[in-house]
Symmetry: C2
Subunit: 465 residues, 2 copies
């Protein structure tokens, strides 16, 4: 009783092999070949049994021309559920090809949160053309969603909620659900509202199923409920879900009325995205960079490199101050990158821990002082160890104990500076309301380069000449 791998179909099964789940390279190649040798119907056949998320991956994996051919070949069989799964850069291309009328039809088949996700990325003119092609009720939902801030709970929520009045029993609730036509596809909690439509509690479905028909909802509902305001940032919402192990949470407007629900499947994506963003920011890359066109990628990475050029030039200016010293002892030029580089690496370790700890709310006012103290000590201890190591290497290499002592002293200084600035820079940026992920590493390497070169060359100028 093993499960059929995705992609098993009437045609030869190309999605087979090591990975039982997900898209195989063989399938991608088979689809490519079918599309490029004029057999689009075979490609459609291969796609037929794939999960929508795998179809999205397939679209992302195909070369541009093949992607257009596949969308073309799928025609009316194009599954609207695929769209929210496609990377934004690729989605733009696909949507361009579909045109506003077809897109409007596809969107209206989606749950409201998925439709908003696709819709919010479109340019204004395209949005307008779609709105006019949509049924009125649906248009209203999309228009309203745009009034909430980007990345807020309002954008993330779905409008389809199962809401029951507080006077009902389990039996009445079950009868209502059996009869109702417009419930969401999947839901995990029932929300109980008072006459003002304020949520006053929830019942997990597993509990509802086990209760007997005459039981009143208010008897078994959970009142310790985490409600989410419309404007809450999605990062904060993700924190809530992770911290409290939620599967769904009610969204309320300013008046406290229940207006929607956020479910864990959306949050799973937010969690990946938020951490992903931090990795990317630490390296100065934009999210979604993978699928951007070459020139977009070049353009988006340029500013970060400009900032780094400025940093490098600042370090060079410091070296320039000691050009005379280097001219007399060329060994200094040979050794000087070591101190700066070790400071940069040690500092990056600290910055990384700090940035993530801040994001996870583990590094707060209450713990900051202890963290700084610890990193300072770690820097000092590793500084002394590497001072000994590097000093020895320099001594043996250039046969001059004095040069070993100078590099050792500079190493201790720079490693302590690295530990200190690795904590103070992200904490300071956070306090200033700047995202520590985006700016910390550039500030850090500026400090460790400048101090690294200055300490080493300065000590050399003072003691070796």
């Amino acid at each position: 009783m093993t499960e059929q791998p995705a992609g098993q179909s009437a045609a030869p099964p190309p999605n087979d092999g090591e990975d039982v789940y997900g898209l195989s390279a063989e399938l991608v190649f088979a689809v490519e070949e079918a599309l490029e040798t004029g057999r689009p119907e075979d490609a459609v056949q291969y796609v037929h049994d794939l999960h929508e998320a795998d179809v999205a991956d397939l679209l992302e994996s195909l070369p541009r021309d093949d992607r257009a051919r596949l969308v073309d070949a799928l025609g009316a069989a194009f599954d609207p559920e695929v769209l929210p799964h496609v990377d934004a850069a690729i989605r733009e291309e696909v949507i361009e090809q579909l045109g506003p009328e077809r897109l409007a039809r596809l969107l209206s088949a989606l749950q409201s949160d998925d439709a908003v996700e696709v819709f919010e990325d479109l340019d204004e003119e395209f949005q307008h053309r779609i709105l006019t092609a949509l049924p009125r009720a649906y248009r209203h939902v999309l228009e309203e969603s745009l009034t909430y801030p980007e990345d807020s709970a309002g954008r993330l929520m779905q409008r389809e909620v199962v809401v029951v009045p507080s006077a009902w029993t389990i039996g009445e609730t079950i009868d209502y659900m059996r009869a109702a036509e417009d419930l969401p596809d999947d839901f995990y909690d029932l929300y109980i509202v008072n006459p003002k439509h304020h949520p006053i509690g929830f019942i997990p479905l597993s509990r509802a199923l086990r209760a007997r028909r005459p039981v009143r909802l208010t008897e078994i509902m959970e009142t310790d409920m985490k409600t989410v305001p419309l404007s809450m940032d999605q990062e904060e919402v993700a924190y809530l879900f992770r911290q409290y192990g939620l599967v769904s949470a009610p969204v309320v407007d300013d008046a406290g009325r229940l207006v929607g629900v956020i479910t864990v499947d959306d949050i799973v994506h937010v969690i990946s995205e938020e951490v992903e963003e931090d990795i990317m920011k630490l390296a100065g890359v934009q999210e979604g960079d993978l699928y951007n066109a070459m020139l977009d990628t070049t353009r988006s990475r340029f500013p970060w490199l400009v900032v780094n050029l400025a940093t490098a030039i600042a370090a060079s200016l410091v070296i320039g101050l000691f050009a005379g010293t280097i001219e007399q002892i060329v060994a200094l030029a040979v050794l000087m990158p070591i101190v700066a580089s070790m400071g940069g690496n040690a500092g990056t370790q600290t910055v990384t821990v700090a940035v993530r700890a801040i994001a996870m709310k583990d590094l707060t006012e209450a713990t900051a002082r202890r963290f700084i103290g610890k990193e300072l000590l770690v820097g000092a201890v590793n500084g002394i160890l590497f001072a000994a190591l590097t000093g020895l290497v320099a001594w043996l290499w250039f046969g001059n104990p004095a040069i070993g002592l100078v590099i050792a002293a500079a190493m201790v200084v720079n490693m302590i500076v690295a530990g200190l600035s690795g904590t103070l820079i992200p904490l300071g940026l956070e306090r200033l309301g700047v995202d520590p992920a985006i700016a910390s590493s550039v500030f850090l390497t500026t400090v460790t380069d400048v101090i690294g070169f200055f300490a080493f060359l300065g000590l050399a100028a003072a003691f070796l000449l």
Copy 2:
């Protein structure tokens, strides 16, 4: 009808303010003060209404002595659910304090997956002492879990599953659930098994609730089910949940029998952890570093810094080859870090995108060639732009156009090398079965430093002397 913030209690409510959810710094300080001024009963009072995850955060935030005092003061009121939420380094401390008998009692109150999570981190002797103190059935569960590989589905799953035979109707199922005593606290899907106990389908609870009593389970069950083998790595399980939007998945043994279930709340943590690990590995830090003791942190960061020292020395050796050239033109020493540093930064951008794309299965055999080609071009274009910029700066600074040309040429070379090695290094490591997150950046900076210094100083030696 706004919700009560967590931590609201009979005592003055310290967990109030900006953040409605999560632990406030005020609460941490209030607890600290209560513990240090001999009012442990106040501290217990503050903790009383906190969610278990917030209590875990509180334990993590307190200084070591206060933590011990709080655990002491809580006594029998210590909530076992707190344990799985506590960071491993801190948990070790708390467990040490609790002792094996009390820990055994606490563990047996937990769901199996949570108990395993706490248990698997203990040292062998402690594990043994706990096992002897546990009821037999429970002991068996823990012992068996240790036979599965670390970070596998077997460790992650809970044994408590709602399983129903395929011959039943909805009505029979509901009656069974109303009567059963030993069901899990929360569940989201019903699993239907055949007489061999193989899962043949599942029914989301929302669908079960809406079906009428006489409906047969097999009529409404979903058969397109993602089953998870016991040995599947948790990273792969997380991929499944994210890709297919699952809330729970059945775990099967080698014979295909249903042995447990993995739920999305566990996966939310795995997803954070896995991406978190990649960030940390890219910077050469261990996960959980934040709460490690100072010396553990120092020790764990040391090897990475040693590798980086070796890299830095390799770069210095390259510089050493051109010591004679630098002696004649000291401007080279001033400018040389720029080329190496820009290559390192550009390469890190590429490595970061590649490492994450590999982890997310977006960068595969099918897309590798296109990705390499694109990064090569991005490197070349940015190389030319920064060559012009840097060349100009060098020319103006030292009044020598030749030096500008040399640095410009070296920049183009190093940026192309950065783009190429930024893709080839992680892809090569992945193919060799080495985690690209852990080793890519060190290889990369070795390449960009060595090539950067070599190209710049080599061209200078050839054309400027």
